[in-house]
Amino acid sequence: MENEDFSSLSKKKLKTLIQETQEVLDQLKGELKQRKLDKRHEEIDHMEEHFEDAAHNLSNLKNFIQKVFSEMRKDK
């Protein structure tokens, strides 16, 4: 695209190309946004699992402390 020569194109053609590109760009942005939103909706559909995960506080803490100590040992 970088080296493409647009000098031969008419002003009208250039405007049309810009408009078309802009439309494609908007569509692509819209698609990307929609995919992100869909992914968020999917995550929320797993709310029960997230509730479950959040309940395992103490085991999280235990694993974390073990990890901290092993990291400290490695650093030594």
Partner: protein
């Protein structure tokens, strides 16, 4: 095909309906117990201090001490609802509202430890942990900032106490406008409180008031655990719908849905903990999680308001006043800190920085947690006692 017949299907659905009805009735019973327990604490505290609550809590006349009590108590039992309900009961029993305000603010800080611990579950994946830890600690930074701004102002001018006082006396009625006669809670809770009083007297005549407080605290603790578990099951569908509806609708919608979901599950730590895996997976950005977390701060105030309905008589206004302080404080903090662009960014920046550091060296996460929730408050208690 498993081939479930229509009659089997209708039997299962009627079983489910019966179970749901039973669960809802149990929720109502638990709310009744919560209200009764708050009444027990109020009555026990009143009897134990014989109107001299100020002397008993003399060590908390320093607002800073009150704040520390709130932080440590909430961090230890991981439930701000329990602590704020107990505070309402204590105010009803004679603890001055002025002393209770910093405790309420401390409960706000203490409750943030729960989602921070939840974020530790992502420790095995560095990027995931960084995102999860930031989502958890943005709540900490916000609540620490809120205290740093509002506590000094409250100590000097008492705006929260004054506004809540005016509202409470309008809602409950002052001495001349008492709605004591119309209060239907007291006749419902009085017989149970009387039974517990008798039980406490049977165990120890001298220490019966203190025992009544202990019973009250124990019941609140259990009620909050069970009600949380039940409401999670009963409300998960509704909570999902609310969150689905708020996606892609901006921060105000996030704050509102955070508040509503918290009211539904009666626990801010449940709501904020729920955000942690959503952020950890990378699907939700910290910017999107942040308003939802703030909504949880507002939604959690419903428990203290509910607890305040337990109190009738002269102290009803004070009990409602402290519950309203909790609500007004959290709403004002959101309006001020989130409303002002430059202030809004500080908790995000703080959380991102801390998460980056903690993801590199896990020891920093440990130092942060132990330091903020236990060592610094403990040291301050120690220093205060040395000076006093």
């Amino acid at each position: 095909m498993t081939g479930i017949s229509p009659s089997e299907q209708s039997e299962t659905s009627s079983d489910n309906l019966a179970l749901r009805i039973f669960q809802w009735l149990f929720v109502l019973f638990l709310i009744y117990l919560l209200i009764t327990a708050v009444g027990m604490i109020g009555s026990g505290f009143k009897g134990a201090t014989k109107g001299q609550a100020m002397d008993l809590f003399a060590f908390a006349t320093n607002p800073f001490m009150g704040l520390i009590i709130g932080v440590i108590a909430t961090a230890m039992i991981q439930s701000s609802s329990t602590v704020t309900s107990i505070i309402v009961g204590l105010v009803a029993g004679g603890l001055p509202v002025e002393m209770a305000v910093p405790m309420i603010m401390g409960a706000n800080i203490g409750t943030t430890i729960t989602n921070t611990i939840v974020s530790l579950g992502h420790i095995n994946k560095k990027k995931e942990f960084r995102r999860a830890f930031a989502a958890a600690t943005v709540h900490d930074f916000f609540n620490l900032m809120a205290v740093a701004i509002f506590l000094p102002v409250e100590i000097i001018f008492h705006p929260l106490q004054k506004i809540a006082g005016i509202l409470a006396s309008h809602l409950v009625g002052g001495e001349n406008l008492s709605v004591k006669g119309l209060n239907f809670i007291k006749p419902m809770t009085k017989p149970v409180i009387a039974q517990f009083k008798k039980l406490a007297e049977m165990i120890s005549e001298q220490g019966s008031h203190v025992l009544l407080i202990v019973f009250g605290i124990f019941i609140i603790f259990l009620v909050i655990i069970f009600i949380g578990r039940l409401l999670k099951k009963l409300m998960v569908g509704r909570a999902k719908n609310i969150m689905h509806a708020s996606i892609g609708r901006g921060p105000v919608s996030g704050i509102i849905s955070g508040a509503v979901v918290t009211v539904l599950v009666q626990s801010s730590s449940t709501t904020t903990s729920l955000m942690v895996p959503l952020a950890g997976s990378g699907v939700f950005k910290l910017k999107q999680i942040y308003p939802f977390t703030l909504g949880a701060n507002i939604g959690t105030t419903i428990t203290a308001l509910l607890a305040a309905t337990a109190i009738s008589g002269d102290h009803a206004v004070l009990a409602l006043q402290i519950a309203l302080v909790h609500l007004i404080y959290n709403v004002s903090a959101v309006l001020l800190i989130y409303g002002v662009k430059n202030l809004r960014k500080i908790p995000i920046r703080g959380a991102l920085w801390l998460a980056r550091v903690a993801a590199e060296k896990k020891i920093y996460a440990l130092i942060y947690m132990v330091g903020v929730f236990f060592v610094i408050p403990g040291l301050m208690v120690f220093i205060y006692q040395l000076i006093a």
